[in-house]
Symmetry: C2
Subunit: 399 residues, 2 copies
Amino acid sequence: MFSFELLAKEDDARTGRLVTPHGTIETPSFVPVGTQATVKAVSMEDLRKIGSQVMITNAYHLHLQPGEDLIERMGGLHRFMGWDGPLMTDSGGFQIFSLGAGKAHGVGKIAPIFPEEKDRGRHLGSKKGKSLVRVDEDGVEFISYLDGSRHRFTPEGVMEIERKLGADIILVLDECTSPLHDYHYTRDAMERTHRWSVRALEACQRTSNRRQAILGIVQGGAYQDLRQQSATFIADQGFDGYAIGGSLGKSKEEMYQVLEWTIPLLPQDKPRHLLGIGEIEDIFEVVKRGVDLFDCVVPTRTARTGTLFAKGAERCRIHILNAQFKDDPRPIEEGCHCHTCCNYSKAYLRHLFLAKELSAIRLATIHNLYFIESLMHQIRAAIKEGRLATLKQEWLSSS
Amino acid sequence: MFSFELLAKEDDARTGRLVTPHGTIETPSFVPVGTQATVKAVSMEDLRKIGSQVMITNAYHLHLQPGEDLIERMGGLHRFMGWDGPLMTDSGGFQIFSLGAGKAHGVGKIAPIFPEEKDRGRHLGSKKGKSLVRVDEDGVEFISYLDGSRHRFTPEGVMEIERKLGADIILVLDECTSPLHDYHYTRDAMERTHRWSVRALEACQRTSNRRQAILGIVQGGAYQDLRQQSATFIADQGFDGYAIGGSLGKSKEEMYQVLEWTIPLLPQDKPRHLLGIGEIEDIFEVVKRGVDLFDCVVPTRTARTGTLFAKGAERCRIHILNAQFKDDPRPIEEGCHCHTCCNYSKAYLRHLFLAKELSAIRLATIHNLYFIESLMHQIRAAIKEGRLATLKQEWLSSS
């Protein structure tokens, strides 16, 4: 059902082919985020045209609404949402703990590289100081942000939710820590995550569910010894692949360090997923360090505010509401083959954003997703030809 | 550039072919409303796939934002918004006066059949008693709902705006009255509209603009003698077609009466457009009385609230948030060929609406627009075969 084959390497960067029951993912690949069983503002047909290879939804959100039982009755998540390609489900560990630690620390979000948290805070009215989460050895109890109802997630329970959802690749329940957690708490949480991982894997093996690949999650915050312990432990459990989760530190440099401590300890022949990155520069940096898959809401979230990706612009972004685009008859990017650039000018998109028309958001999202897919296509080709550094230079020199 | 050919009649109902510089409209036809140079929540590609034959945008809204000069510089409205089919522009008379009379009368909207007004009221904070409009013989002065700036529309000025926008079919500036205006005011406003119509037509003839068909607008409220005077006067001016505007009374019955007084006095060989209707039952009734074109926001607006058209349902509508659709794996309508029904279940759409996902709105809009196009297709065929009454029975018996 599953296989992962490496096609080429350039130093630690690699390109490969991950085969799932619903199709093949050429890696390294971006994974668009479809938290609530849809990538915000676009349809499944849009995603297919964009060339998205895989999507990640969220067990926590779908458990709360519409519920995994309903989705199972509807024939599983693929059929429910009309996506017949490879599909992942995140366990929701990050979401649960961002409601807890983020609240308890009054930081509103765990780290700036996790933009998801920002919205979550809004849902909850951004009250400080009150954690909505209680963690114990068995699992975690939390309050729904939708209706205040109480829920309990255990490692076994989450595997059962994800089995019902039926994605191709599923993640175990982990406890995410914040950069504000100290060394001792981070170590305790990591060890708990390890014990939970063993239980999750056992639960899956009991149901002899071999249609779903299971990823273990490496924790340990921004502490070198903890990351190395966690990578060694998780690498030993027989997972089908590995995710790198939790706090990746307070800066890009710390994130790159976390990867450098962790990835060399993970098996070469299994895919590695990084949870939650997506700036253009970051993509080059994490691929260079051996990441195969990464998800991120940056392309879709920034699109909704009118921030559009464009090669050659500062930080590869333009803001469409800028007055300079008022009467610009050109597409967002000359030569871009996305639906938006093939059909609409910057002047028109700017008008749609100013007029608060919903179509603006879809058209912007289509462009940003296409932009990342196009970048990833070039990155895969570059790794095969040993010129990843040159490609990075080409993309980022002007920005 | 323009021709209108009648293909068949069944009593007063007719089916024909209206040729414009951007293509042919089979009549009777629904005209989706694209007020701000987009039909809300869908793209031009969506409209083409839906089979929309023509679109109507609004000179008033586009004058305020982004401005007709910018659109002209961008190559005109067709190119600006990426729509290469037949296109109409409403003058904005209705919008201007709904800000005036609606306010002055404190009714919030002119008549329940004009749902557009509801949103307008919200923009303005629904203050009662203060008209934003001052009308004089020369034209009308009004305050922008966007930024409070003052503007003046004259019959000649509006023709110039619409020339710059460049739609195929344009409407003259009229003064709309409310059902709350008395006979004398309604008569004065109608006579002013007549004088404005003559000026508008002269202004167009001076610029010898023959790439745009011009529709005169019949006014006169719900008063028989005024409607008849207005129809007779407007019919005499040499317009390329006729719109029926202003107050159509306080009930469906009064609206049908207005049509029965007006339409027999209009030339048979010119198209007739009714401004602002769209309930399924109304469509049958107005087509029966000889209407060729009608625009309406009902299909798109109701879609945004989760109200979806379905033949056989009460009033041909279902509300997708109803609990009965929670685990309904079927499409909105069995056998519907729209993108939404071909790909998604009611259970999934309900989930998207509950989760407040933007894609819900687009998918719902696509279905409702397709539903109306499909109805109009059947209506045209029925008129050719003399079975319009049977078709109506078939559509509305169960509702």
